[in-house]
Point group: C2
Chain length 202, copies 2
């Protein structure tokens, strides 16, 4: 008998109920997805709040200057991306909970494609936001002497630390979105299954 995940692997020794295995596996996938959506919701809001509420006032020769996240477009992108990821996960999490409470999926083919597309877009958007903010953060931390862009974190230490915490949180959100996008790809594409290994594309 073939185990659920053992595609092309035949054990032939232990009698296992295939349907029970599949149900247990489905339940694990569902719970993993729900946990990831909760993580993204919580940490997405946390990252957006950490970066979005950050500011520091410094006085230079009696002139007050305030550092805030809107000074860097990449940080605005980070706040928006994490807010969107959190909002999308809230909607999907509610959908998931209704599914679990009703004991059956509310899924049509169109909805499966919509969830897959949404997860893919959010995964790439959150990764891009972390990359852009990381680049800006590095410039602010160490500067770029060749371009006469000076480091700023020696002046705005508290501001930079809080942005760093927000970026670390956003990094975890983007990793969770990447895993989630793989799960929703799995949930969608196995609908097109039933192929043996020999028929698979290169």
């Amino acid at each position: 008998m073939r185990s659920y995940l053992g595609v092309g692997v035949s054990t032939g020794t232990v009698p296992v109920n295939h349907d029970t295995n599949a149900k247990v596996f489905d339940r694990r996938i569902k719970i993993t997805e729900l946990v990831l959506r909760c993580v993204i919701l919580g940490l997405g809001v946390l990252a957006a709040v950490l970066v979005g509420t950050d500011s520091q006032v410094k006085e230079f020769f009696s002139i007050q200057k305030t550092a805030k996240f809107t000074d860097m477009k990449a940080l605005v992108f980070l706040v928006v991306a994490n807010g969107l990821a959190a909002g999308f996960s809230l909607l999907q999490g509610l959908h998931c909970i209704i599914c679990i409470l009703r004991g059956r999926a509310l899924l049509s083919k169109q909805l499966a494609w919509a969830i897959f597309s949404g997860d893919q877009v959010m995964a790439y958007v959150t990764v891009a936001a972390v990359a852009a903010a990381g680049q800006s953060g590095m410039l602010a931390k160490v500067g770029q002497a060749e371009l006469q862009w000076m480091e700023l974190c020696n002046m705005y230490g508290k501001f930079c630390n809080q942005v760093g915490e927000g970026m670390a949180t956003a990094f975890v959100v983007s990793l969770s979105m990447v895993v989630l996008s793989c799960i929703s790809a799995f949930s969608l594409f196995r609908l097109y299954g039933g192929h043996k290994m020999k028929n698979v594309n290169c």
Copy 2:
């Protein structure tokens, strides 16, 4: 009769040979994959060469200054990411051609997972590289007055234009990698198929 892509959709009117449909569909997927890998190979090398060979010398009060891609870490990341994507696509393209010539797949479950993982990683890496380089490019183009980071493209116009062309090329590479990662997810996850819609996770 159910069409290959019409999961859960029953037409019941036109008699179609399911196996023939599936073979035609498989062939189209295979050709799309091969075309995308060729695009990524060609444009990945082009993007890396455009950015990696770019330089411009300017004279300021008898002091010569040279702008080069290594002045910005994000451009180094862009060159490396596109070089890796091109190299990976070359290997996968060769594998694909051998498959087509032999008329059968050389795929084990482990290899399918390796290809899927490689495509996923390359898709996220190329998107992250474009995002980081885009952020640096915007800073070089318009500066960031609040942070005293001045624009550079008014001084190094030719250098900036060539980097812009490289970044546009890298953007096409990253989009192709995203589509390709979806195709390899499809190729892998349909191996775990055979589920009806009612069994699908939320």
